[in-house]
Symmetry: C2
Subunit: 201 residues, 2 copies
């Protein structure tokens, strides 16, 4: 590092050129969708929104018990997914408003989301520790070939459902070397989204 | 991805070859120390422990108001850093016990930690959005040249203190493209630690 210290002045908020929510909606996105399969913690949901905002993820598919930032109704107005005020506030608190910028959809099961994504031409990868996994560091997204991807992250305890893994085109695994082998869901999302984003920088 | 689905069976806990705490203490570590400068949230502290366990980070330096997994006393037995039962339990809950495997130290200020690290030959990099930052994707650690590193992560609102930034050898910045430009501390730690770890895989 040849950088001289006095240059390292922290950037002010004004200098950061942050997008407005409207500009975000119009901006080009990374062709990556994040699927949350039965994620229990509101904190993790909010954090995934915040990270997805930072790297302009295309959308988040919230599935099963995963909380949504708002209630979801079908075309007939029937309530599909409830959302308590507390859940909405908790997600907002962690997402810092990124639930307004990043597009999201709700599916009753991750299997439904994955089926829809595959029909729409996405390469769908479960983020799991599997036999036959591809280690994340060995994986290079082929964005240049116009490929679009979805990654599935699972429940804090049970991970991605085996039947959802079975539907996927592959598994990405973050190699781990410690005593736990269980990264936090929002940290896992951060690492995987960064891996996709930085491969394109 | 040419992987065939039926191969993607999730790995059982027994198959993961997780280290015991004793094996972790003996195992070779990545020459990277994570410095937390006034991190307020117990959740973030616990999460950084968990991620540091996964990638065998050498140690975590907890500074200022950052909570410690236990109370800290100096050689005379004088209490240097208090730790309530609640704080200890909260860190444990998020760290899932990684506070037992990963080495940690307490410093009254991050400036003291950085001074000690520099005296000990570490290249110290603040993780911040600065004028003159090096973008994380442009940075390659020189572990091969026996270099050892420390990264400083700051408070959830205020970031790393400017006087601490001034002491550092450089700034690493995670480029961000959204409406917020403020990743969660534990997600930031995850991305940075993964960047160091994967550069060596």
């Amino acid at each position: 590092m040849s950088i001289i210290n006095y240059q390292l002045k922290k950037t002010s908020i004004i200098e950061m050129n942050r997008l407005s929510v409207e500009e975000f909606h119009e901006a080009e996105k990374m062709p990556l969708i994040v699927v949350l399969d039965d994620v229990r913690s509101l904190y993790n949901v909010g954090s995934v929104f915040r990270t997805s905002d930072a790297f302009r993820v295309e959308a988040i598919d919230l599935c099963g018990i995963t909380a949504t930032p708002d209630e979801v109704r079908d075309e007939d107005g029937t309530l599909v997914r409830d959302c308590t005020l507390k859940a909405s506030q908790e997600i907002h608190k962690t997402a810092l408003g990124a639930e307004e910028s990043v597009a999201w959809r709700y599916y009753k099961t991750a299997a439904e989301a994955v089926a829809a994504l595959k029909a729409d031409g996405y390469t769908v990868l479960a983020v799991e520790q599997c036999h036959g996994s591809t280690m994340l560091n060995d994986f290079k997204p082929a964005f240049g070939d116009k490929k679009k991807y979805a990654v599935v992250l699972g429940n804090e305890v049970k991970g991605v459902h085996q039947e959802v893994v079975d539907m996927c085109d592959g598994c990405l695994e973050i190699p781990q070397y410690g005593t736990k082998h269980s990264l936090n869901v929002s940290v896992t999302a951060g690492i995987v989204i960064w891996h996709f984003a930085s491969s394109n920088l």
